[in-house]
């Protein structure tokens, strides 16, 4: 990479990392907003 390896791989690695991180965050179970306690009684 003609001595620029750090910069080229650095940018591609970070981009890949960010894209994968977005997929991981998306695949987590959606956090259920606090259920209204009255819901189950009525």
């Amino acid at each position: 990479m003609g001595g620029y390896g750090l910069y080229v791989w650095g940018s591609y690695a970070m981009s890949a990392l960010l894209l994968v991180a977005e997929l991981v965050v998306l695949s987590q179970k959606p956090h259920q907003p606090p259920m209204d306690p009255l819901e189950d009684e009525s």
Binding site: M1, G2, G3, Y4, G5, Y7, V8, G10, S11, Y12, M14, S15, L18, L19, E22, L23, L26, P30, Q32, P33
Partner: protein
């Protein structure tokens, strides 16, 4: 303008059939995997072109290969904001709940691509201009675009009631989209007038045919990726927002979720 009547009138027309979350949910479910596969293929092709086919640049040597991720990411960050403003305007005008969800689904991806553009921009600036952060006109407006995204997401996070969050975010997106050209040109003026600023990006390296192709393919790959991610995220938002409606309960009973 009460929220019920315009929907009935519009839903009748075929094109708006997918305006209701219930019908859009399965459609998004089928489309998302296709876009995911498409984006993988395109990324593979794009990376191949950018690393093996494109010739080394005369002046910058190998460092310019960062352009194949930097420019598509910058384009995407702008396109996603415009898409967000489009859905926002639609949601405000027609009171369709789905548009608000689309806008909220687009925002994180837009912010992500802005960060990628800034990061790769800095990594490109270091070898070629010797500084991690170059106060170039485009990079600066990219930074301001990131602030607009963060403002949008912060506003939506601060409001509990989802309806109000959508509509408030929508108005902010519209105000933002009106201001983007103004921000861009004022930053452009600011850059050219402050002679002190170092060399700007305007002198892009000469575009060999293959380089342009590489960038095109990578942009399409980003497009497909964004479609897949946004459809996936909008499905999650629909489930959270519609948890009280019966079609979601049926899905839960069928054990699909």
């Amino acid at each position: 303008m009460s929220s019920a009547t315009p929907n009935q009138a519009l839903i009748g027309s075929r094109w708006f059939k997918y305006a209701s979350p219930a019908t859009f949910y399965p459609l998004a479910g089928t489309l998302a995997p296709w876009f995911a596969v498409l984006s993988l293929l395109l990324f593979g092709l794009g990376l191949y072109i950018s690393f093996f086919v494109a010739p080394t640049d005369a002046q910058q040597g190998e460092a310019y290969r960062i352009i194949f991720i930097h420019v598509p990411a910058a384009w995407m960050s702008m396109v996603i904001y415009l898409a967000m403003a489009f859905w926002a305007g639609l949601g405000l005008a027609f009171h369709t709940r789905l548009s608000g969800m689309m806008a909220s689904a687009l925002a994180p991806s837009g912010a992500l691509f802005t960060v990628i553009a800034l990061w790769t921009g800095a990594f490109w600036g270091k070898p070629t201009w010797g500084a991690w952060w170059v106060w170039d006109a485009r990079l600066t407006s990219e930074l301001l675009l990131l602030f607009l995204y963060l403002g949008f997401m912060a506003l939506q996070a601060a409001i509990e009631d989802p309806r109000r969050a959508d509509r408030a975010g929508a108005l902010l997106a519209l105000v933002g989209v009106v201001n983007i050209p103004i921000i861009y040109f004022s930053v452009q003026w600011w850059n050219t007038l402050h002679q002190g600023a170092s060399v700007s990006f305007t002198r892009a390296p000469s575009m060999a045919m293959t380089m342009l192709e590489g960038m095109m393919v990578m942009s399409l790959a980003c497009w497909a990726y964004v479609f897949a991610v946004v459809l996936w995220r909008v499905r999650k938002i629909i489930l959270i927002r519609e948890r009280n409606s019966d079609w979601v309960r049926q899905l839960q009973q069928k054990g699909v979720l």
